[in-house]
Subunit: 179 residues, 4 copies
Amino acid sequence: MSVRTPDPNPGWLSEEDLYEARRRLPIVYVEALPVRLDSLGYVTEVGLLYTADDDGQFYRSVVSGRVMYRETIRAALIRHIEKDLGSLALPQLPPSPAPFTVAEYFPYPSETGLVDDRQHAVSLAYIVPVTGECEPRQDALEVSWLSPEQALSPEVQAEFTGGREKLVQQALAHVGMAR
Amino acid sequence: MSVRTPDPNPGWLSEEDLYEARRRLPIVYVEALPVRLDSLGYVTEVGLLYTADDDGQFYRSVVSGRVMYRETIRAALIRHIEKDLGSLALPQLPPSPAPFTVAEYFPYPSETGLVDDRQHAVSLAYIVPVTGECEPRQDALEVSWLSPEQALSPEVQAEFTGGREKLVQQALAHVGMAR
Amino acid sequence: MSVRTPDPNPGWLSEEDLYEARRRLPIVYVEALPVRLDSLGYVTEVGLLYTADDDGQFYRSVVSGRVMYRETIRAALIRHIEKDLGSLALPQLPPSPAPFTVAEYFPYPSETGLVDDRQHAVSLAYIVPVTGECEPRQDALEVSWLSPEQALSPEVQAEFTGGREKLVQQALAHVGMAR
Amino acid sequence: MSVRTPDPNPGWLSEEDLYEARRRLPIVYVEALPVRLDSLGYVTEVGLLYTADDDGQFYRSVVSGRVMYRETIRAALIRHIEKDLGSLALPQLPPSPAPFTVAEYFPYPSETGLVDDRQHAVSLAYIVPVTGECEPRQDALEVSWLSPEQALSPEVQAEFTGGREKLVQQALAHVGMAR
């Protein structure tokens, strides 16, 4: 082991360092599609975030965010769901740690069809039933609950960026709902 | 189409007919392992049924039963969970229709290691979180809630019949818990 | 146990009996979507059957068939793949017994959107890579290999019956390919 | 966007930088359990690596390694399988991008039970059938093919480090094989 001054902020990255890391390493992300279930477990609604980017363009998104150093995937999921849906959403994380898909975002067009200008992100995607009240806290302007049919409509699908409309299609196919 | 007298009881099978069908066709079953989850989605407890067979022997089991004609898998799951855990169990069926495994029971020893004297059963197995009160109604003498470690202990594993201890192992492995 | 004359043909059902059983019990089916994979495991082609029904109408289908009494799911899959793709298809069944979805066909319109006039079928659906030569043997007039994009095109999707176009969508979403 | 000198080695990290990154960010890993399948898709053998650590201690392992910047998960899997099993292993990556589990290794004891002294690793775990000849190239001293029963025996399970025996249990449970 090398001799180093103890790091006063283990796990903390400055903005500068994070910028650099994002150009050198794949970054671990989690994404969650919030859903409402009926008593038989059928998905009745999906929760989509409606957000504006820096240029004032509106687009749809799902719950998404980075996994921190020393943070479990489950803790990261809860943290980002609370950030985007508020603390009263009452999410129920699935018992299995396996995501329904893994989305690979690259900082340039790739075979995955998913793009993230800032980084190479490896994103574990989950479907998360919520039973409480959702009130967006941070960046999201709105959480809108759509039927699966609405979420798969060409109009709504066209409002996603980075290829995330595919993620919604895959999630709904996973629960047995195709177009 | 042939001309036949309309069946007054579609979907209903006499005991005799069911006995015969069980010797001629694989029968569709559902099985459910009830679990309690913590706020992060980790399984904290699994619910096992403690039952006596016709000879007065006690054994452990999971929620299990036949899918009826014209019944959806989800409806069958809810019906059998209510039968075995009572109507206040508040089960939350998973959003995906895919079982975590398919258990094939044969009326004789087979490569699957799963046995059911009465029939060839193809059983779709699900992990079902429950949040309410469980009170066994029908045959089950008791619902006992065990930690995953207890459920995987050699003592408890030895109390299952037909190879269902494997099902419990597979379910817990599916949620990230191995011995 | 009741005293009965031994059945000379256990597991065998007359056409008459099968007709009756199909009106009384859900029937276990397997369905397989044959795929060609590249060296990285990406699906490059899906194999669709092109068949004529009794009225001479053409439609697309996937490999599909009943699980017999005492037959394992894997044996049924291989049998139906050989029947539809020939004995040189070299299918590689997936190591996990869990299907990517369960399709429930009812003899009338239902919440599943899947219809089979003859019966209530519970169908375990698998994606099966094949590496050999495919030559349809029985009913299928043709096996056509389409790119995922072609298989998801509105024209091809409209050529399925019973709702099986949804199964193809779900299968392709499962392998990471959405529209 | 900030103005920066173009990076001559995008995606390349010095040993020093990688050491630092491993103390600040979760690192994306892939792990693969190589298996041999019979014609019905049953797992007949699992391939385990037998390796010595820096202290000359022998232990069992699975194929494992980091995902590089701009590298797809599939490319990383193939690269590490070739590194550990040689270029003639003929691995067949599964068509679905979803891992059978996600293993979270922490640089200290945690709720996951998985430990990696060097880093916080988020590892996507896959079961990969191989049909060719395996010849370990790099660090591994040996690839041994064990039956599922042997791989699950207490003796073999005790030879893993970091908790990876759980990964093997989970993989075999996923393919329907419990103890």
